[in-house]
C-alpha cells in the first residue's frame, strides 16, 4: 500500500480538523502519554456517566497525521460507549478504523498511541492492569 493510500482525504481532514479536540471542565479520567520515538503527545479526558458510559471524551495533543487522526477518530468511536468497550478494543479495530493502511512498525506506534492513552486511563480508573501486548513490539 502506498502513502497515497495512507494519507487519504479523510485522514488529512481529521488531522487538520480534529473532532473532540480540547479539554473537559469536568472529567473522571485524565490520561497522558508520549511516544519517545518522535515526541508525539496525547492527553485524553473522559467524563464517565451512568452505566459506566463514556459521556464525554476529548483530547489534546500534537504529532503526526496518523497519531492525531487516529486519536480523534477514536474519541468519536468511544463517546457513548461503556468503559468495558475499551477493554475489548484491539489494535485491529484501530487499523480498521484507519482504513487498514499498511504501516511500518514505527508508524504502528503512532496509530496506536491514542488507544494506549485511552486504555491506560480507563484501566487505571477500573483499577485493572493495562496489557502491553495490545501494543506493537517496538518502543
Amino acid at each position: 500500500m502506498s502513502s497515497a493510500d495512507i494519507y487519504r482525504e479523510v485522514i488529512l481532514d481529521y488531522y487538520r480538523h480534529p473532532r473532540n479536540f480540547g479539554k473537559l471542565e469536568k472529567f473522571d479520567i485524565d490520561s497522558h502519554d508520549s511516544n519517545p520515538l518522535c515526541g508525539d503527545e496525547i492527553e485524553m479526558q473522559v467524563q464517565v456517566g451512568s452505566g459506566q458510559k463514556m459521556e464525554e471524551v476529548k483530547f489534546t495533543g500534537k504529532g503526526c497525521a496518523i497519531s492525531q487522526a487516529s486519536v480523534s477518530m477514536l474519541t468519536e468511536l468511544a463517546k457513548g460507549k461503556p468503559l468495558g468497550w475499551v477493554k475489548e478494543l484491539s489494535k485491529e479495530d484501530v487499523f480498521k478504523m484507519l482504513g487498514n493502511p499498511d504501516l511500518g512498525p514505527s508508524r504502528v506506534k503512532c496509530a496506536l498511541l491514542g488507544m494506549k492513552v485511552l486504555k491506560t486511563g480507563v484501566y487505571g480508573y477500573l483499577g485493572a492492569q493495562y496489557e502491553e501486548k495490545d501494543e506493537g513490539e517496538l518502543p
Binding site: S2, A4, Y7, R16, G39, G63, I66, G104, R107, C110
Partner: protein
C-alpha cells in the same frame, strides 16, 4: 548552479555496497548520516579479516592470535588518536559519545563536582550531553544552567559570558549541532572556560566525522565522538583527554583489564587508558574504526568538508525554493555542518519521512534527541537530511522531488 565535486563521488559510492540497494523499488538515497553512516567495503573487510584470521582476546595473551589482535587494537587506537590530534595514551575506547560523557560524569564528575556548583550546557545539546549533567547535578546538589541561542541558531555568547562569571565547574558544548548544524566556536569557548577554571566537555559526534578536527587546538579537557557516525562499525567510539587528567580520575566501570592488582579489600588500577577499559573491549569494532579512519584520511577531511559544504549550499537553496519549507539553523553553509533540519508546512516530519521513504529517500524525523532545542524552536519535531562522502547532488534532487510529492499528497 555549479555543481563542482571535491572528489569523484561516483567512485566513492562504489566503495559502499549498500548504496546498490533498492528501497520500494527505488534507488536508496541515504540522507540519515547524522544518525549513523554507511560503511565502506574496507571497513566490512576489516571485520571479516579479524574474525576469520586473528580473532582473539587482547592484552593478556601470549599466543600468536592474541599478539596480533592486541597489535591491531592498539594500532587502531594510535591511528584514531592521530586522526583527531589526541594523545593515544589519553584515548579511551568506549561504545560511543554517550558512554564517553557518562564516563566523564562518573569518573570525573562524582569526584570533582560539589554542592552548590554550577554546570553549564547549551540548549542545542544532544541528550547525551545534557542528561548525564542533570543526574550529576542532582546527585551532588549542583545546578545545571543553559546557554541560549540567537535567532539564527548560533550560541548566545553574551549569555555564555554571563554564566562563566558564575565560575562553573563544567562547560559542556557540542562542536557541531546535530539539528541546526551550527558549528560552535569551541576553541574560543574552551579558552574562556579555562580562564574561569571550568572543565570542558566537547561533544564531537557531528564534527569528527565531517571536518578536520584537532583536539589539541580545540583545547577541550574532554572530547567525545562515535565511530558509527564516521563510517566505522556500531559499538565503538572514543573519549580523548589529557593523560594526566585521566590519571587523576577515579575509574568508571571496574573488573578485568582495568586493574593492576586485586586484593580482598581493595584494588589498584592499570595505567591509562586501560584503567577506563574494563572487561573485554570491543576489539573488532575498534579495529574497524581504525580502518574507517584510514579510509577517511585517504580522501582527506578537508575534501570531505568541502564536499559537504557544496552539497549543503545546494540543498539549502533547493529547499528554500519549496514553498512552505522552513529551514532551521545558520544560513551560511560555511558556518554549519552537513545537516539540514526543516519543516514543511503542516506536514508532520514523521509523515514526510514515510512519504519520502516510499521514494527511496531516507531522512530522519523527530526530536533528534534534542528536546530542549525542539522547545526553543517551538516545534514538536523536525525533518532532517544529513550528508556524508557518498551523497551527491542527485540525492538532494531526490529529496526535493519527494517534498513536491508530499505537497501534492497533503493538498498544499
Amino acid at each position: 548552479m555549479l555543481k563542482a565535486e571535491a572528489f569523484e563521488v561516483a567512485k566513492v559510492r562504489e566503495d559502499f555496497p549498500i548504496l546498490k540497494r533498492k528501497v520500494h523499488g527505488k534507488r536508496l538515497v541515504y540522507l540519515d548520516n547524522a544518525a549513523t553512516t554507511q560503511k565502506p567495503q574496507l571497513v566490512v573487510d576489516a571485520l571479516v579479516d579479524f574474525y576469520t584470521r586473528y580473532n582473539s582476546n587482547v592484552h593478556r595473551s601470549v599466543h600468536t592470535l592474541g599478539e596480533e589482535a592486541t597489535a591491531a587494537y592498539e594500532a587502531a587506537r594510535s591511528k584514531t588518536a592521530k586522526f583527531v590530534g589526541a594523545d593515544p595514551k589519553g584515548l579511551v575506547f568506549v561504545r560511543g559519545t554517550t558512554e564517553a560523557t557518562n564516563l566523564v560524569r562518573f569518573a570525573w564528575g562524582e569526584k570533582n563536582v560539589k554542592k552548590g556548583d554550577v554546570l553549564v550546557a547549551t540548549l542545542m545539546e544532544h541528550h547525551s550531553n545534557i542528561v548525564p549533567w542533570q543526574l550529576l547535578a542532582r546527585s551532588k546538589g549542583a545546578t545545571l544552567k543553559y546557554v541560549g541561542l540567537n535567532p539564527d541558531g548560533t550560541l548566545d555568547m553574551g549569555q555564555l559570558e554571563d554564566l562563566l562569571r558564575e565560575a562553573p565547574r563544567l562547560v559542556a558544548v557540542a562542536h557541531c549541532s546535530n539539528v541546526l548544524g551550527t558549528i560552535n566556536e569551541v576553541s574560543a569557548i574552551c579558552a574562556m572556560a579555562k580562564k574561569v577554571g571550568a572543565t570542558t566537555v566537547v561533544d564531537g559526534a557531528q564534527s569528527v566525522p565531517h571536518m578536520p578536527v584537532d583536539i589539541g587546538a580545540v583545547g577541550a579537557d574532554f572530547y567525545a565522538f562515535s565511530g558509527h557516525k564516521m563510517l566505522a562499525p556500531t559499538g565503538v567510539g572514543a573519549l580523548a583527554a589529557r593523560k594526566e587528567l585521566l590519571e587523576e580520575m577515579d575509574p568508571f566501570q571496574s573488573g578485568g583489564e582495568m586493574i593492576k592488582e586485586v586484593f580482598e579489600d581493595h584494588s589498584t588500577w592499570n595505567d591509562v587508558p586501560y584503567k577506563f577499559e574494563a572487561g573485554t573491549v570491543n576489539i573488532a569494532d575498534a579495529i574497524g574504526l581504525g580502518t574507517a579512519v584510514d579510509y577517511l584520511s585517504s580522501i582527506g577531511m578537508e575534501r570531505v568538508r568541502k564536499h559537504e559544504v557544496a552539497l549543503l549550499d545546494y540543498a539549502l537553496r533547493a529547499l528554500s525554493e519549496v514553498k512552505g519549507v522552513k529551514i532551521y539553523g545558520p544560513p551560511d553553509p560555511a558556518r554549519r555542518g552537513g545537516v539540514v533540519s526543516f519543516n514543511y508546512a503542516d506536514v508532520h516530519p514523521h509523515d514526510l519521512a514515510t512519504i519520502l521513504d516510499e521514494e527511496g529517500v531516507a531522512i530522519r524525523s523527530g526530536h533528534h534527541c534534542a528536546q530542549l532545542l525542539m522547545r526553543w524552536l517551538d516545534v514538536p519535531a523536525t525533518a532532517r537530511a544529513s550528508f556524508h562522502v557518498y551523497n551527491s547532488y542527485d540525492d538532494v534532487d531526490a529529496l526535493t522531488a519527494g517534498l513536491h510529492k508530499a505537497g501534492k499528497l497533503f493538498r498544499l
